[in-house]
Symmetry: C2
Subunit: 464 residues, 2 copies
């Protein structure tokens, strides 16, 4: 019975310690509130990364000294910091208008019978390859309509191996690959695997909102590195190095960039990957637009770091957005973790769709045709944009977008986008969807040239 | 400059308080380790729910007194408890063999050219309705191959409204509905919306492993309520009421049950829903097998509680597993939250698949045919099972499974399943995939009657 008494005593101590922790958290909350008041009164900047970083370093050191799991320390501190931000009255960003929200609005207007020029969602207007549709239909009539294993059917994994070998002279092992319901899920699963709550990940902005959404969802923090039109939409490797914080676990790279169309040099890419690798980060390289590249485009496969995830999709190059099929390439142990996430949520991608994707990998001709068409559209749209005085832009190196910026420093692209739909029947995606870019907006080139030109002219008319 | 000094001072206090918190967490860890040692020495039970519950109540009370967010308190305590379990050496459950793992193994063996009798994965062998295949193929050739809005296409939402009206005399508003990539995603999104880290949810076992997987994934704890063959696989409303803990936010109900085939009475269901509703829980009712019900089956739509999510799918009744399409029905604000999860991860379900689902809702004849076939298979398999002395079972009220239990109390269904594949070429799912049921195994009835009978006979042979 002695051990029972000791147990009771220890349990009481645990409860007491828990109480003390809660009280300290409340005390910390009160301190944060007072900090917020002082900052507001003195009009001082609300967030302070250097203060946070010092805290992270101190907590990590203490975990080390006390023999506590560092992940527990990071998570705990992440929780305390986000709590004190709430207490200080720091709002976690406004909800910007994303391309998907614009699409929903456009579809609503169209359903009322109104015709629009759709420059919003990032979706090519090309038909998917006929061979793909034939293959999917044939698979349906052959009853390829049952569950498959989560990783993907062997035919598609093997077709991807051949395709990557042919394209990049890199042949992944089968266990480095997995099929996903779209590139979006590949990105989410990569983030969910690389990051834990309280961690952070670097995103170079402007960029696709899904990166920040995914980072937020897993309870991590996005470190956004702002690039600008004035700097040619390029982040310097030094800036990236400086932005790495004690809790940073990943960086997302994506070239050609959505929305700017920027492609950085292979040398810069290599340097950035090297910096990330040295810092032990996972490099997530989203290469979905790599068939729409009009100058040499780097790929993570050129020189793999220790931790990497390549994400891609059949959506853009083959114009198969609505099929929801993509893939990821990563070290086998990373793929295993990502497969758990996929298995938990969606079991598998439909087999008949996977059989369509197998066929797509043979459709080089259609990919080349689509790529050529987008290049011509970039030229045509650029020519029209050059005529508009109020806009400046960098001619895209690739992707399927142009991202102009208003010369007027007070320009509000969200208000402009709304006015543009109403008065001119043209949809665009406001720049705030991609980062802190109220003066910019994204035009998707997923429309025939004549429509694009007409759209840009209408934009010019409204701007005047 | 005075406010600057005060700021510095406050920041120092924040850092100091953070340190104290970390030190207390480490102290708590040490206490937990000693508790673990005493328990091991004294062979005392490792987990103690009542101790945890008392802690939850104390922390919630303190949050209330100190003006701290209760969710922060729950999350913090959840973190501390899972940390002290690690310190005590409590393992978070072995990884059991799930039906999906058995499927992967079976597919591997089949790919080597060996024929198997597949009683593992929960998938009917029926063909999907021809009208569905025709509709999907037609949609593909009409280029319904682009993005749609996340909630689902209007045609499918409206078809679902009509279907539910016809079937249950309940017509949901459009904003109570959403289309999902399979029932599995509907369940995940429901759990992700109802639960936060540190919360708990009640699962009546044996049950589909996806429930526990989803609860674990969102950082919550599954409270498993064990039912037994001896009690007719039925949990009493009193037991359910007693199992509700201070941090419990949801309960999952699913009738007909996978794997037992149990259907509880409408009165019991109503009583349980009432208890959950009184406790403020979200009732997640997975009604995927409701077309395979051979006695009156309750539905959440009979009497909706305040917080509810109905999840269902086209997979089973229409034999459309490989299409990955399902739906959820919940209050509009819950659906909004679930849509954010879906939008973040997968954008939308392919439009051509949704158009197939629209057609499925007209295929009552095929559903009735499938249901009749399963009923006949239950009869045939039961007759065979009756001949095997070493097994006992409850004849299923519905679903597409039978869940026999070995009379031998030392029976290990995982080892048996492996021997059964090797020696007899028959696959089953071990009972431990569905909870603490090493003596049981699940047989799926998704095979023609003759094969099922042959499979059961081979099981009988190996048992002897």
């Amino acid at each position: 019975m002695k051990s029972q008494e000791e147990l009771e005593d220890l349990r009481e101590q645990v409860a007491e310690t828990t109480s003390q922790i809660v009280k300290l958290v409340a005390k910390r909350d009160g301190l944060a509130r007072r900090i917020g008041e002082i900052k507001t009164k003195g009009a001082l900047p609300m967030e302070s990364d250097s203060v946070e970083d010092a805290l992270y370093r101190r907590v990590l050191q203490e975990c080390h000294d006390l023999g506590l799991d560092e992940r527990l320390g990071t998570k705990l501190l992440g929780m305390l910091i986000s709590e004190s931000k709430k207490a200080q009255g720091i709002k976690s960003g406004l909800v910007p208008i994303t391309p998907m929200m614009m699409m929903a609005k456009a579809k609503e207007i169209e359903s009322q019978g109104k015709a629009l020029i759709r420059l919003d969602v990032g979706e090519p207007d090309f038909h998917p390859p006929k061979a793909v549709i034939d293959a999917v239909s044939k698979a349906l009539y052959s009853f390829k309509t049952y569950y498959t294993v989560g990783r993907g059917i062997p035919e598609l994994l093997s077709a991807l191996q051949g395709y990557l070998q042919r394209k990049y002279s890199y042949r992944p092992a089968e266990n480095q690959l997995m099929v996903t319901p779209g590139g979006r899920f590949a990105v989410y699963a990569a983030l969910a695997t690389a990051l834990s709550e309280g961690d952070s990940a670097i995103v170079i902005e402007p960029n696709w909102p899904a990166y920040r959404e995914g980072i937020d969802y897993v309870g991590a923090k996005a470190i956004t590195l702002r690039t600008s039109l004035e700097d040619g939409w390029e982040a310097s490797p030094e800036e990236i190095k400086e932005s790495i914080r004690p809790n940073t676990k990943a960086i997302i790279l994506s070239y050609p960039c959505n929305p700017t169309g920027k492609i950085i040099s292979k040398a810069s890419f290599k340097e950035i990957v090297g910096i990330a690798d040295d810092a032990g980060l996972t490099v997530i390289s989203d290469e979905i637009y790599n068939d729409y590249a009009y100058k040499p485009c780097p790929t993570i496969l050129d020189d793999l770091p220790k931790k990497y995830v390549l994400t891609s999709s059949f959506s853009k190059a083959w114009s198969m957005t609505g099929f929801r099929v993509g893939y990821a390439l990563a070290p086998p142990e990373t793929v295993s973790k990502m497969l758990k996430v996929l298995g938990l949520m969606i079991t598998c991608v439909p087999e008949f769709i996977q059989l369509g994707a197998v066929k797509a990998l043979d459709c080089d001709k259609e990919v080349a045709r689509n790529s050529k068409a987008i290049k011509a559209r970039i030229e045509a749209v650029s020519k029209e944009l050059d005529k508009i005085d109020g806009l400046e832009y960098d001619k895209p190196d690739g992707s399927i977008y142009v991202f102009p910026q208003a010369v007027d420093k007070r320009f509000d692209s969200s208000a402009f986008a709304m006015e543009l739909i109403e008065k001119k029947g043209v949809t665009i995606s406001p720049g705030t969807g991609f980062g802190d870019y109220p003066r910019c907006f994204r035009m998707s080139l997923g429309q025939p040239e004549a429509k694009l030109v007409a759209g840009v002219r209408k934009i010019g008319e409204l701007l005047r």
